[in-house]
């Protein structure tokens, strides 16, 4: 990398990067010919562009560059990167809302997600629900666990009914 690049965003082309998973289950790869036994991934726009603008960083957290779009990468790299994103950004997609109840002062959500069933506990709704736009809802619970409703309008009737009073 030349000195002049230092203040510019480095965008990776598919040939610059190769991602894989190490024996210990750790995300690793070769970036611009240099092997890294551990890499970290960050979404620059976690709400708006979940598969675009992925920042690739070394263990110290220094940015090596940005993958503009996951789908442009070679298949193996893309799969591994997507998996790592899912692990790092633990955000199960809600497939069904079983119930939303208010007990004492807490809101209890029983949810089915693509990663299994879970329960979320919120202190209130106005601080723990975010609406990034469209029908998308991000739920955060007291412990910091997050779930995402991709589009609440597309959930089944039961779920919509549960959500009706809280959205």
């Amino acid at each position: 990398m030349t000195e002049g690049d230092k203040y510019d965003i480095r965008l990776f082309s598919p040939d610059d990067v190769y991602f894989s998973r190490g024996q210990g289950g750790v995300f690793q790869g070769i970036v611009e010919g240099k092997p890294y036994e551990e890499l970290e991934v960050y979404r620059a726009f976690p709400f708006l562009y979940t598969t675009q603008y992925i920042s690739i960083r070394n263990v110290k957290g220094e940015e090596l560059g940005i993958v503009p779009d996951l789908k442009d990468l070679y298949e193996e790299s893309a799969t591994e990167l997507e998996r790592e994103l899912q692990l790092r950004y633990f955000m199960p997609r809600v497939t069904r809302v079983e119930s939303v109840k208010q007990k004492s002062d807490l809101w209890m959500w029983e949810l089915q997600t693509h990663l299994g069933a879970t329960r979320m506990v919120m202190r209130n709704l106005h601080e723990y629900m975010q609406y990034p736009g469209g029908g998308r809802v991000i739920l955060t619970d007291i412990s910091g666990k997050r779930c995402e409703i991709v589009d609440w309008r597309e959930l089944d009737a039961h779920s919509r009914k549960q959500l009706e009073e809280v959205l």
Partner: protein
């Protein structure tokens, strides 16, 4: 050794050595929800899958270090081994403290260091009885706390006003009973006077009786009202005082994690909600309850068959109330949320009005407001709509009962089975009965509102302070000012230390400059000296006494601070300077101001030392405020002085004046100073360079500059570079 969750025996038996630590994850290796067990012994790390088969065994001998890598909403426990990093466990955010500890423990084992001890704070904060996570800063599970208990605790506030409450209750009972007299007297008039056309004096007596009861009722209601207002206001006062004093007692860490603005609402509106419930609510409920019972007794006495008709709609009304109530609660909350959004929006754009105007975005702000406004309107209509449906519906259902009585009672009267007066009395009582029933929902609303408020208020009151005072604090008197940091580690979140293993000895009277990049831990360093937070590990000693053994009042008496953001309280300049020493004489104040280079500009102000500053007062410039703050520190006469970027936001001339003032101030005091401009620290006896929470260099300005590759040298060079650029620009 400490274990977080009990490792099942089946798994424990598979271990070859003594168990050091075990924990249950809540995610599987591939990131799905599920449970895995992790166990650590002196020889190996074992992870079991959900079906209790072994997933991996990692010999300790091969372990170099371990890390808890936090992601978003979860994290990963990684082991650095001879053959590269290995994923040990994945977990959601709820478990991160536990695995943060696991990483620390594994690191210590691998490097053969002293093992950390598992502490309360690393426990996942969940309620022991129901398993639901607890809110930060509280040990009270909100799911388990019974509303009953909260209500009882709330009612305890009425204790000092027992006598008044008893009088009010007696008055209440009598008014309720007296209220029942008029319909009965009406019956007497119709049946015994008007019916038989009794021309005697009975009519006059009965009417006089009616008048007397009316007068009595009015008088009693007035007295009751007065008592209510009196007790209510007193209660409010008590509650507010308690909430506020609990707030003042709490440590800074508590406020760091919360928006402070919410407390303004809590102190006022929550205590109001509780007051409303305790005075109006309780009185209202018991009055109406009593009235309902009394009415039924009389009605049964008059004609029990007809009374049964009257009761018919009651279950319907109760059922409707019960089903509709939760809906109302949620809609009410929805409405509140949309208003909340609207308010935040207004607050936001008004605070940033300069930016809005500068970029010419008024239109966008307007349309953003418009959208939120439409939402509020929509919710309002929905909510009010529900109400306007509720009341007529209740009135109608109640009316049905009346119709039944009219019809059946009417036929009875026609058949001469019943006297007209009895029918009239029944109808009148029925009307009185449905009044309170219609208000059932209102009562539930009050009660639940008050409960929610009480929960919030008691939460504050029950939160233990993070920096508790010891029972028998060491008497320190006037200290010399030796400060010692002994292996101090601290993190705002425990698994993420901001200061790591800091050791430093400072002699009394020494001036220490703290240097480092932003985020290096300079401010944290200073916060620890003030004991805004307690160290996680290690200790800070002043004159050999642990900070934790000194009462906070004594400690603060010895410490003076001048911060970057100077906060002046609402009051005069003189009051602000004398903030820490209310008995200071005008001369003291002027002397302090003189030393602080503030005297001249203050006297030149039209109102001099009596100039009002703060929120509503005169606007002082940054440098002027700073000098007032320095004067405040001078009059405080602390042994330990803390200067946090005291000259950050002022021009060179003002900086010179402040510098001058500071150099007079630091004389003979132990001083810790943070400054952005390194040149301002040239007077310091020693400079301490912090990097990523560790002390990397200590020495005088000259000593440190001599180190070719030193961290301080780099900082100084970087700043020279910057000032060159600035010089060109300027």
């Amino acid at each position: 050794m400490s274990t977080q969750d009990q490792l099942p025996d089946v798994l424990k038996n598979q271990l070859t050595a003594e168990l050091l630590f075990s924990a249950k994850t809540d995610l599987l290796q591939d990131g799905r929800f599920g449970e895995q067990w992790l166990a650590v012994t002196e020889q190996e790390i074992v992870v079991w899958k959900q079906d209790r088969t072994q997933l991996l065994r990692q010999p300790i001998a091969n372990l170099k270090d371990a890390r808890a890598v936090s992601g978003i909403g979860g994290g990963t426990l990684l082991a650095d081994t001879g053959s590269g990093p290995v994923v040990l466990a994945r977990y959601t955010a709820a478990q991160s403290p536990v695995f943060g500890f696991a990483a620390k423990l594994l690191g210590a084992i691998a490097k053969d260091e002293e093992r950390p001890v598992f502490s309360e704070r690393e426990m996942p904060r969940s309620c022991p009885s129901c398993g639901n996570p607890l809110a930060e800063g509280t040990q009270i599970c909100q799911v388990c706390t019974h509303n009953g208990k909260v209500a009882a605790r709330m009612l305890r506030y009425t204790k000092p006003y027992k006598l008044q409450m008893v009088v009010a209750a007696c008055l209440l009972i009598t008014t309720t009973l007296v209220e029942l007299v008029p319909p009965y007297l009406t019956k007497v008039i119709i049946d015994d006077v008007l019916g038989p056309k009794d021309i005697g004096s009975t009519l006059l007596y009965v009417v006089l009786g009616l008048g007397a009861t009316m007068l009595l009722m009015s008088v009693m209601q007035t007295i009751r009202g007065l008592i209510g207002v009196w007790v209510g206001s007193k209660l409010m006062g008590d509650l507010r005082k308690d909430v506020y004093s609990s707030l003042m007692r709490l440590s800074l860490a508590f406020f760091d994690r919360r928006q402070t603005s919410q407390f303004i609402g809590r102190v006022n509106s929550d205590s109001e909600a509780m007051r409303q419930f305790m005075t109006d609510g309780v009185v209202f409920m018991s009055a109406e309850g009593l009235r309902i019972i009394a009415i039924f007794i009389i009605m049964f006495g008059l004609d029990w068959q007809l009374t049964l008709y009257a009761i018919l709609p009651v279950p319907v009304m109760v059922a409707v109330s019960m089903t509709i109530w939760p809906k109302i609660g949620r809609r009410w909350y929805q409405q509140w949320r949309s208003i909340f959004r609207l308010n935040t929006l207004v607050g936001d754009s008004l605070q940033g009005i300069r930016v809005v105007k500068a970029f010419g975005r008024e239109g966008d702000e307007l349309s953003r407001y418009g959208e939120a406004n439409v939402d509020v309107v929509r919710r309002n209509i929905r909510m009010e709509g529900l109400w306007s449906f509720m009341f007529p519906a209740f009135a109608f259902i109640a009316g049905l009962g009346t119709l039944l009585i009219w019809y059946n009672g009417g036929s009875k009267v026609l058949q001469d089975n019943m006297q007209l007066g009895v029918l009239m009395a029944l109808i009148a009582y029925l009307g009185m009965l449905f009044g309170p029933l219609q208000w059932i929902s209102q009562m539930i609303s009050w009660a639940s509102n008050a409960m929610a408020a009480a929960h919030r208020v008691f939460e504050i009151m029950d939160t233990p302070s993070d920096v508790p005072d010891v029972w028998n604090p060491a008497a320190i008197g006037v200290i010399r000012g030796d400060v010692v940091f002994e292996r101090v580690t601290y993190g705002y979140e425990k698994h993420h230390p901001v200061l790591k293993d800091v050791n430093l000895k400072v002699q009394a009277g020494e001036m220490i400059g703290l240097v480092g990049h932003s985020g290096a831990g300079k401010s944290t360093f200073i916060n620890l000296i003030c004991r805004f937070y307690d160290t996680d590990e290690g200790a800070i000693r002043i004159d050999g006494t642990d900070l934790r053994d000194i009462s906070q009042i004594d400690l603060r008496k010895q410490i003076g601070v001048v911060l970057q953001e100077t906060f002046l309280f609402d009051g005069t300049i003189a009051e602000n300077i004398a903030y820490s020493k209310p008995d200071a004489t005008p001369l003291d104040i002027m002397r302090a101001a003189k030393i602080a280079n503030a005297h001249d500009f203050i006297v030149r102000l039209p109102d001099g030392y009596d100039t009002r500053v703060g929120e509503r007062g005169h606007k002082l410039s940054g440098g002027e405020k700073q000098r007032v703050a320095i004067a405040r520190a001078i009059i405080h006469d602390p042994r330990i002085l803390i200067l946090d970027e005291a000259t950050a936001s002022v021009d060179t001339e003002t900086e010179r004046q402040i510098q001058e003032a500071i150099s007079r101030l630091v004389k003979g005091r132990t001083t810790f100073a943070i400054a952005h401009r390194l040149s301002t620290l040239r007077n310091a006896d020693r400079l301490v360079v912090l990097d990523r929470g560790k002390i990397v260099e200590v020495g005088t300005h000259e000593q440190l500059l001599e180190r070719e590759d030193g961290a301080y040298r780099k900082l100084v060079d970087a700043q020279k570079e910057l000032s060159k650029i600035k010089g060109v620009e300027g």
